[in-house]
């Protein structure tokens, strides 16, 4: 059982800071997802943990041991690569056995482990094929099998599902989650797919421009985004983030001027605008998820009104774009709402659904 610790970890490419002074702890048995848009430094971070990339500054500890200067093979980590990185000239069986050759085990034991993993991952039929002759899903399973066969201290996954099509991806997501639960190792997964992160991870680290914006459980990342970036990045359709100015605030509500309308917002119990933040004219960003806005029949003090601009049916739900001045407000409704383009719709932010961010974009909480 080992844990991974990153301390003040940085990686510079020339003058560019790909990873900029990050700290992260991954407990033994925990699955942490590095989530972020492309170029945010998540893969670089993973490659530094793996030892495939030199560290510019800071330290990496695995099971308490500083591994900065250890070669990848001495770190006892297994990694699943984005493009699987199977050995093209070797059969599936040889691919699976490859990591075992570095260890001192008998040929019989290698055979036994290869067959065990192959049957676990439903690859027994393909053992004698070369990777070029496998389906995408099979390649992915070989890559995973090659990682788990060795029983390493920790696992790293680089965009493990990005190459699969949607149906296979969903199935593999479940399989990987199950597998990781059974292995109980410190695991770091890099992904740009938030659904993947939200479903597989115990905790998510959202990265942008080389820094970690927030580390929290999937629930907290979604329910309590630490700043405007995380709020906008997590959740589809994207959270509405609108500029506002405080008019008045008390314990349970905030009256703000936004989109040219004065609206009384119900505040979350944890949010407080008492004190400095509640002063008149303080600039704020109000965040409400499209599913947190409920259409109501009458305009009132707690409603925002806009003209229906576009209606996108999404199956069980419907996404409605409201045009208010130059701004676009997204509303998702599951009701059989009969709105039509051009008509005016009133929506009210639901209780506990309003996020407030100060003018630096940081979450306001009590």
């Amino acid at each position: 059982m080992a844990d991974i610790e990153l301390r003040n970890l940085s990686k510079h490419f020339g003058t560019l800071a790909a990873v900029d002074d990050i700290d992260l702890d991954v407990e033994a048995g925990e699955v942490v997802c590095l989530l972020g848009p492309s170029g945010c430094g998540k893969t670089t971070t993973l490659r530094m943990i793996a030892g495939l990339e030199d560290v510019t500054a800071g330290d990496i500890f695995i099971a308490g041991q500083r591994v900065n200067d250890l070669a990848p093979r001495d770190r006892d980590i297994a990694m699943v690569f984005q493009f699987y990185a199977l050995y093209p000239s070797l059969t599936v069986a040889d691919n699976l056995a490859f990591p075992l050759h570095a260890e001192k085990i008998t040929k019989e034991e290698i055979d036994r482990r290869v067959h065990e993993i192959a049957s676990l991952l439903d690859l027994s039929h393909a053992l004698n094929r070369v990777p070029g002759r496998l389906a995408e899903g099979e390649k992915q399973r070989v890559a995973v099998g090659r990682a788990v066969i060795r029983d390493p201290q920790c696992f790293l996954f680089d965009e493990p599902l990005s190459r699969l099509d949607i149906a296979v991806r969903q199935e593999m997501r479940g399989q990987i989650k199950q597998l990781l639960n059974g292995l109980h190792k410190a695991t770091v997964i890099v992904t740009h797919d938030q659904i993947e992160a939200l479903t597989i991870a115990d905790r998510i680290a959202v990265m942008r421009d080389g820094i970690i914006e927030q580390v929290a459980s999937p629930h907290d990342i979604f329910a309590k985004p630490a700043n405007v970036f995380v709020a906008g990045f997590i959740g589809t359709p994207q959270m509405n983030l609108i500029e506002a100015r405080v008019v008045d605030a008390d314990e349970d509500t905030a009256t703000v001027n936004t989109l040219g309308q004065e609206v009384v917002l119900p505040l979350h119990a944890e949010v407080s605008l008492q004190g400095g933040g509640g002063r008149r004219d303080t600039p704020l960003t109000v965040g409400v998820r499209p599913r947190g806005l409920e259409p109501v029949s009458e305009a009132g003090p707690a409603t925002i009104s806009g003209r229906v601009d576009l209606i996108e049916p999404m199956g069980a739900e419907t996404l409605i774009h409201l045009r208010i001045g130059d701004d676009d407000l997204r509303v998702v409704t599951s009701r059989g709402l009969t709105a039509s383009v051009g008509e005016t719709l009133h929506v009210a932010p639901a209780e506990g659904q309003v996020h407030l961010f100060d003018h630096d974009g940081m979450r306001i909480a009590s």
Binding site: R47, A78, M79, Y87, S89, F98, E103, R150
Partner: protein
């Protein structure tokens, strides 16, 4: 074969006929040489040229043993040795160039030096001069070092000539293969040696084959250096062929054609042997993985 048939089907008869005509024009000289090799001296010189004639193997016999004077006894021409020399020298020099060049290319591709591109350019500049310009210094170097007329001398020289090309070719093949696979091997506990031999080399097999064929053809046909730097025992076929021209009955075209026909066989053989690899080699990287 199945693939070729399907492609003809796709191309349609018009285009196929057109390409056949063009190919025929291109290959006509070769065809003519092969035909001439089977003609008697009289048939070979007849005007208009004969397409229908009684084939003879006498030219092929004379390649290896013939009389140098009219009416004289047939003497061993040592052409068997010259063929061996050509094969041995070409094979060995390409082999040496491949071993050194492949390793160097891997280095240039995976562990670039400061100024990597400059090094590569400088390596290529050695092939920018026409060979005739460097022949005098090389000739003197060979004289002084005693390499003149030896196998080792000409093999080293050809290897050196093949190296720039080999390095450039092989580097482009190594550049094409994904590094992720090497990273995976690194994490799986492989040494750098094992990564090179077990992971990278098998992936550039096609490239090695393509490079080898190009190198072999280049070396096989080389004349100038062979003429000046090989001795009586290390003479290659192109040099020996040139020395066959002349004699008291004029140019023996049939004999020359027979030498050329024999001379073609190894190249054709190697190319066919490596055909599949070669096709993959020259189309490397053009197909989406």
């Amino acid at each position: 074969m199945a693939r070729r048939r399907r492609e003809i089907g796709k191309a349609g008869w018009g285009r196929t006929a057109f390409s056949t005509v063009i190919s025929f024009i291109y290959f006509f000289p070769v065809l003519w040489i092969i035909l001439t090799a089977f003609k008697t001296h009289t048939d070979a010189l007849s005007t208009p040229p004969k397409f229908i004639f009684t084939p003879t193997l006498e030219n092929f016999v004379s390649v290896f043993a013939r009389a140098y004077e009219r009416g004289g006894a047939a003497v061993d021409t040592h052409f068997d040795l010259f063929f061996f020399n050509s094969i041995f020298i070409a094979g060995a020099s390409v082999g040496v160039a491949l071993v050194i060049g492949t390793i160097a290319a891997y280095g240039f591709s995976r562990w670039p030096l400061r100024g990597n591109e400059t090094y590569l350019f400088i390596i290529l500049t050695t092939r920018m001069l026409p060979p005739i310009i460097v022949i005098i210094p090389i000739f003197i170097m060979f004289r002084l070092s005693g390499l003149s007329g030896s196998y080792i001398g000409i093999i080293l020289l050809y290897a050196a000539f093949n190296l720039p090309f080999t390095i450039w070719m092989m580097k482009s093949f190594f550049d094409e293969i994904p590094r992720e696979v090497e990273d995976a091997a690194r994490m799986d506990g492989s040494s750098e040696m094992k990564i090179f031999f077990r992971i990278c080399l098998p992936q550039v097999k096609a490239g090695i084959a393509a490079t080898a064929v190009f190198g072999l053809i280049l070396t096989w046909n080389e004349f100038l250096f062979a003429l000046l730097l090989t001795g009586r025992d290390t003479r290659t076929v192109p040099v020996a062929m040139a020395q066959t021209i002349g004699g008291d009955i004029g140019v023996r075209w049939g004999l020359l054609a027979a030498i050329e026909t024999l001379f073609l066989i190894p190249v054709v053989f190697v190319t066919f042997l490596l055909q599949n690899q070669l096709l993959r080699g020259v189309t490397f990287g053009t197909i989406k993985r």
